[in-house]
């Protein structure tokens, strides 16, 4: 540590950080634009100028940019004395700004507005013409208004340098520098939405939000957790007038940090969907016609069906909802609502985490890993935020080079120049080209089973007590040697795999590699799971064998299906058989689906935005989310629908959480997720509304001049109100950041221990699974080999469209496509396919096809979850493909939405081992 003096105040600082970070971390106000805690310094905007004094005698000092300066022990600095320069800088920055704040989406949460005021530019002297630009259509997610640009370069540093995007960059120069694509068109990066948060003003805005815009302070927000995949990014959804308007990132240093993927950010439109189930319905037993039923009657019926019936839980419902169902039907009648294949795989994930000496890597861990193998998981499409983290991990090479030259780690440009586009090793084993191939040292195209075989061999090559594999080809052996060497040489090696390939041996192989890497330190392992609460559901199963297959054969007459479309979990024929065999079927869900159509009783369930509860992510990290807004009285959270009198009719959620605590490993930690339902700060709860929330007394004035009573939240510690303790006083429940003078999300540092570090008060979730401390043990190096007739099938996941609920959002619809298959060009010609043809997939209907050079002949990728083909109906080792008769592409087939590097036959991809 070093001691510095800033305008007479003495601060203890870490000389490894830059002066700007340290000044901000000590809660001093110093304006900046180009610096970002996740992206480091480049010194372009010149806004964070301070005066540095050489010694005590030095009265004049010299001006330095704080972001490009390492604090020197004993040095004196002045923020005040550089005030004039900063005012000049902002005045010149603003010469061409359009001053369109009233119609700008950024207004009221604009870093540029804040910095302009803070820098002291109030009177405009420039009287010339402004430089102007043409805007581009950047697709359904991001709006573009280049005239607002202040040329801080944050967008390109984020999009290109941080997120690896290739279709966006700076163009032209001087005061006409332009940030955009080479021509209009949708941004290709799966992380484009972060531009809206990274841009300090309104150049890049959330287009989905703009369609039903409200000022930041008029949004009712809550701390939430993304429900769109198993990563568990923390979000901050905002509501007004009963509709969910937008989702922004909520900082969690261990999980998502500052960034979300576009599915999480733009995939919540389903909350406002026309297809929402807004009232409970019952089906007339005579003519099958549905009719509305009161919540009270619905609940009574539900409880009746539950007694003696079976319950099918859900990996996308909260822990509490699943627990309530389990309590209602009894442990033995509670079944996991996931496919049977997934059931086995998820249990396997838990087994690995609990019985192998590995470290389960958080996203923060992943970013720091310096050698990685991705084993058969298309992370960009199944757990996108992890893909973004892997892009940071390969930058280890530059960070190490900088350290050797004694250059600070915040020096972003130098690190990039040193690395010169080189990456620390990342290997990808996959049946198809992936979106991370550009940073891979080697991409090996292989089936999941072959990847598993290679994985076992890698484990053996690292630690020869691991079981060996004997039948490797020379190319495979060379690959194994190379991967093993790189992983062994790394300081923090990482294995990434997951359940999406549906190959159990792959998980075992991943576990063996991570185990083999263990020594003084543990090998890092991240296993992707499909849904927000996949592991939570499986933990509630407590190792029971109650799979969905068992449920469907249990001979039950009554069943409750919790937030689940069984047709996405099992072959249609078996679901049909199961459902028709039931006398009573109750379905709780937020959106209509095929399972709901077969129900006698459908209950209107709240989405994540209207409920409070807990999800457990891929790491076993439990995270609490608070309802953002209170739905209409006819809609209730599933947990509350399912509660019987043991907890009361309308129990507070924490009672259910407490119930879960008794069942789950380290369940007591669940109680630490919130400060407790009765927490208060000086008698007040935490507000969901900004203290500037406007129109509270006028919102309903056209109906009644009397202000209605504020909605109560019996579940916890937050108010549906602007009243309460703002996070500036106590950030125990960290909602939307705001601090005096800092109206944008840049105010976050006011709530962090240090810029970019953990929040001072709010937690980052609780890891429920203890790391296994016993000795190494191995899974046998066996891979089940099935005889394959026809094409060997593997699943193709789409970030936009494969997930059930997000796919019902307009913005996601605009980025997805209908179902298709992808195959090798040679196979396409063998099947006699012309460009306009479709492919008949067994007897399951016909779909369009895509030629992808990376896909091995004899294998076929089949889209999962996209409309037009049910993947569950195809789960056999091999499938037959034929040219479809009388084919016409469906109108929602949009090949241009499929972003791959190997489309067509002329791509650089061949088969087998790909060297880079």
């Amino acid at each position: 540590m070093a001691k510095i003096t800033v305008d007479g105040k003495v601060f203890e600082v870490d000389p490894n950080n830059n002066l700007l970070e340290e000044i901000l971390s000590h809660q001093q106000d110093l304006p900046y634009f180009c610096w970002h805690p996740s992206m480091g310094s480049v010194g372009s905007c010149r806004q964070c100028a301070v005066i540095e004094y050489a010694n005590d005698q030095d009265q004049r000092g010299r001006q330095v940019m704080a972001c490009m300066t390492s604090p020197r022990d004993g040095a004196r600095y002045s923020i005040e004395k550089a005030h004039q320069f900063r005012a000049q800088a902002i005045e010149s920055i603003m010469t061409s700004h359009p001053h369109d704040c009233p119609v700008c989406e950024e207004g009221g949460e604009c870093h540029l507005q804040d910095m302009t005021v803070m820098s002291g530019h109030t009177y405009r002297r420039y009287d010339g013409k402004k430089a102007t630009h043409t805007n581009q259509d950047l697709g359904p997610f991001i709006g573009h208004e280049m005239n607002r640009c202040i040329t801080c370069y944050r967008c390109v540093r984020y999009y290109k340098d941080y997120a690896g995007g290739t279709d966006f960059g700076p163009q032209a120069s001087h005061n006409h520098t332009y940030f955009g694509r080479f021509q209009d068109g949708p941004l290709e990066s799966e992380f484009s939405g972060n531009l809206a948060e990274v841009c300090p003003t309104g150049v890049f805005t959330d287009k989905v939000f703009s369609k039903h815009y409200a000022r930041k302070w008029d949004l009712q927000t809550s701390p939430s957790v993304c429900a769109a995949c198993g990563v568990g990014c923390n979000t901050n959804p905002g509501e007004r007038y009963g509709t969910l308007r937008r989702v922004v990132n909520r900082f969690n240093d261990a999980v998502n940090g500052y960034f979300l993927c576009d599915k999480g950010r733009f995939g919540t439109g389903y909350v406002n969907s026309e297809q929402r189930i807004r009232v409970s319905m019952t089906r007339n037993s005579h003519d099958g016609r549905p009719s509305e039923i009161s919540p009270g009657d619905a609940k009574a019926q539900l409880l009746r069906i539950g007694k003696g019936g079976i319950g099918i839980g859900s990996p996308r419902a909260s822990l509490e909802a699943n627990y309530a169902l389990r309590e209602l039907v009894g442990k033995d009648n509670f079944y996991a609502g996931v496919s049977d294949a997934e059931f086995g795989l998820l249990n396997q994930v838990l087994d690995i985490y609990r019985s192998k000496p590995v470290h389960v890597a958080s996203i923060k861990d992943i970013e720091q890993c310096d050698a990685v193998i991705v084993l058969g998981e298309d992370v960009t499409n199944t757990a996108a935020r992890i893909a973004l983290a892997l892009r940071q991990s390969v930058k280890s090479i530059g960070r190490d080079m900088a350290a050797k030259l004694k250059l600070p780690q915040w020096h972003d440009a130098a690190i990039r120049n040193l690395a010169q586009g080189r990456h620390s090793p990342l290997y990808i084993l996959s049946p198809q080209a992936t979106r991370l191939d550009d940073i891979a040292k080697q991409v090996h195209i292989a089936s999941a089973a072959d990847s598993a075989r290679i994985g076992f061999a890698i484990a053996h090559a690292i630690d020869n007590s691991a079981p060996a594999v004997n039948d490797l080809s020379a190319a495979e052996q060379a690959l194994v040697t190379s991967i093993a060497a790189d992983l062994k040489a790394a300081k923090k090696p990482l294995v990434v795999s997951g359940t999406s390939s549906l190959e159990p041996a792959l998980l075992n192989a991943a576990a063996n590699i991570a185990t083999a890497l263990g020594g003084d330190k543990r090998g890092n392992l991240a296993l992707c799971v499909p849904e927000a609460n996949s592991l939570g559901l499986m933990l509630l199963m407590e190792g029971s064998a109650n799979s969905l297959g068992k449920a469907m054969q249990a001979g039950a007459t009554n069943a409750i299906v919790l937030e689940n479309d069984l047709y996405r979990r099992a072959p249609s024929a078996s679901v049909d058989k199961f459902l028709t065999g039931l006398q009573q079927l109750a379905v709780l869900d937020s959106l209509q689906n095929r399972t709901g159509e077969a129900a006698n009783l459908v209950l209107a369930a709240g989405t994540f935005a209207e409920t409070t509860g807990t999800f457990i992510n891929y790491e076993g990290r439990a995270q609490h989310f608070y309802a953002t807004f209170k739905p209409a009285p006819e809609i209730r959270s599933s947990a509350k629908w399912l509660c019987d009198t043991a907890f009361g009719e309308e129990p507070r959620i924490h009672l259910l959480t407490g119930g879960c605590a008794a069942l789950l490993p380290n369940g007591y930690k669940l109680q630490k997720l919130t400060p407790g339902a009765d927490w208060n700060f000086a008698g007040a709860k935490a507000p969901r509304q900004h203290h500037r929330y406007s129109g509270r007394t006028a919102l309903r004035a056209h109906l009644n001049v009397h202000e209605p009573k504020q909605e109560q939240d019996e579940d916890g510690i937050m108010n549906y109100s602007m009243e309460g303790v703002p996070p500036t006083k106590d950030a125990t429940v960290f909602n939307s950041p705001w601090s005096p003078g800092w109206n944008s999300n840049q105010s976050l540092f006011k709530f962090q221990r240090h810029t970019g570090a953990a929040l001072t008060q709010a937690g980052h979730g609780e890891l429920l699974l203890d790391e296994y401390t016993g000795a190494k043990s191995w899974y046998p190096a066996t891979v089940a080999k099935a005889a394959i007739n026809g094409f060997a099938m593997f699943p193709l996941y789409h970030l936009f469209g494969s997930e059930e609920l997000t796919a019902k959002s307009d913005a996601i619809q605009a980025k997805t496509t209908s179902a298709y298959i992808a195959l090798n060009p040679a196979d396409a010609s063998k099947l006699g396919l012309a460009a306009s043809d479709g492919v008949q997939v067994q007897h399951n209907g016909a779909v369009p096809y895509l030629v992808r050079a990376s896909i091995a002949p004899g294998t076929v990728g089949v889209s999962v979850g996209l409309s037009g083909l049910n993947f569950q109906d195809l789960v056999t080792p091999g499938i037959a493909l034929n040219k479809a008769a009388n084919w016409q592409n469906p109108k929602d087939w949009r090949a241009s939405n499929i972003i791959v590097s190997d489309a067509g036959s002329d791509s650089a991809y061949g088969r087998g081992v790909q060297g880079r």
């Binding site: 000049q88 800088a89 010469t95 040329t151 001087h174």
Partner: protein, 425 residues
């Protein structure tokens, strides 16, 4: 052979085609290569350092000292890059060398590469210098054919390749780190130092960037020694340099002169003095990005220290003459317009400060100037000054303006009150 006292231009005769390899060698060329190969690299650097040769790009830093910061070889590539992106307004000296004696540059580059143990040498050439491009291309080919480049240069164990890169044309590429970015195919934005190019330059490898004229001095120094070089200057100064004059003088041009002669010598003896009917009003001593100097400064020696005391910079030492019938404000406007356009757009004071100044100067010229603009321009000069910007472009651009505001203050006021009296605008 008696050592020449014009090491830079000895082979140059106006109107005659540049020497071929054979002619150049017959005139004593390429001797420094063989000689340099007998030195230890560090000794060669020391020799250059002892000669007192300063960088001729404008900064004047001791060349040998700059070289000495390169780390010891680690087996990887090392680069010498010659900065031939001569775009400083009023500066045309490197062009003279490259068009008329390309082998001198190539010899200098080979010799410098021996000192630096470089494995590859680049010439980053201003795109508009077509004639120089052709001359250099031809000369490089001849040098390869003669075994001076490629594998085992001059029969030694050393390998050296050379490539000519023609720039797409940005003033900022004259800044060595922006040049490196451009050579890598990136946007020509400057890089922050440290790391210095000597440690991490082109493609992240040790790199030296030197000006054309600087490198052209190396053969003479290696052949004839540091003492010889030190003896070439005027009044105890070291070496010769190319200096020149543009503007309304009788014989505008560029000459090799002993370091240390006075501005008056250059202006009157070499350039023949002002054209008839024109008075010297002021001059820019070394390119568009230097402060104006006045007739009273003519007897100062053209040395960095003396020029600095007079409030300016020697820069490239090619002076631009401002006569009494040319509008100083129009002159400054023209320069600022150039600099504003050439700003790379990276840092704020340069990108957004220069266009504002340009706007105010245009107003002055159009008779729409306001008194407040004079104050804003004065402020802007400080705002764009050294230490406030990412590189030296804006501080340099501000120099003619800040000195103009000082020396021509009355003319600014008169522009505000009565518009420009110099016609033709």
């Amino acid at each position: 052979m008696t050592p020449t006292n014009k090491p830079l231009t000895k082979n140059i005769e106006p109107g005659r085609a540049p020497f071929t390899f054979a002619q150049y060698q017959a005139a004593g060329g390429y001797q420094s290569v063989a000689k340099a190969l007998t030195y230890k690299p560090r000794d060669l650097m020391k020799l250059v350092q002892d000669s007192g040769l300063g960088g001729r790009g404008g900064a004047g830093f001791n060349t040998g000292l700059k070289w000495s910061f390169i780390p010891e070889p680690d087996g990887g590539p090392r680069y010498l890059v010659v900065n031939a992106d001569e775009m400083e307004p009023g500066t045309f000296k490197d062009r003279l060398l490259m068009e008329n004696d390309p082998h001198l540059l190539i010899e200098g580059m080979i010799t410098a590469s021996i000192a630096l143990q470089a494995t590859m040498a680049y010439i980053f050439l201003r795109g508009e210098y077509k004639e120089a491009e052709h001359a250099l291309q031809q000369a490089i080919k001849e040098a390869y054919d003669a075994g001076m480049l490629g594998k085992n240069i001059a029969g030694s164990t050393m390998n050296l390749d050379m490539a000519l890169h023609t720039s797409a044309g940005r003033y900022i590429c004259g800044e060595e780190t922006a040049l490196i970015n451009a050579l890598e195919g990136k946007r020509a934005n400057p890089r922050f130092k440290p790391p210095f190019p000597q440690v991490s330059g082109l493609w992240g490898r040790p790199t030296l960037v030197n000006n054309v004229e600087t490198i052209c001095n190396i053969p003479g120094i290696v052949n004839n020694g540091a003492d010889w070089y030190k003896g070439l200057g005027f009044n105890g100064q070291s070496g010769t340099r190319l200096s020149g004059v543009s503007g309304r003088v009788k014989r505008p041009g560029c000459w090799e002169v002993p370091v240390g002669i006075t501005f008056r010598t250059l202006l009157e003896d070499y350039a023949g003095g002002m054209q008839d009917g024109y008075q010297l009003k002021a001059f820019l001593p070394g390119g568009g990005s230097t402060d104006f100097m006045l007739p009273e400064h003519l007897d100062l020696p053209m040395l960095a220290g003396d020029v600095q005391k007079a409030g300016s910079r020697l820069g490239t030492s090619l002076i631009m003459v401002l006569d009494d019938k040319t509008c100083p404000i129009g002159c400054i406007h023209n320069l600022i317009k150039f600099f504003a356009h050439e700003s790379c757009g990276w840092c704020t004071p340069c990108r957004d400060g220069l266009p504002w100044v340009e706007h105010m100067l245009l107003k002055m010229e159009q008779g729409k100037g306001e008194l407040k603009d004079i104050d804003i321009m004065k402020e802007a000069c400080g705002y764009m000054g050294p230490g406030n910007t990412f590189c030296a472009l804006a501080p340099g651009a501000a120099e003619p303006l800040q000195s103009g505001l000082k020396y021509f203050h009355d003319e600014f006021i008169e522009h505000v009150n009565h518009g420009c009296k110099y016609h033709n605008h």
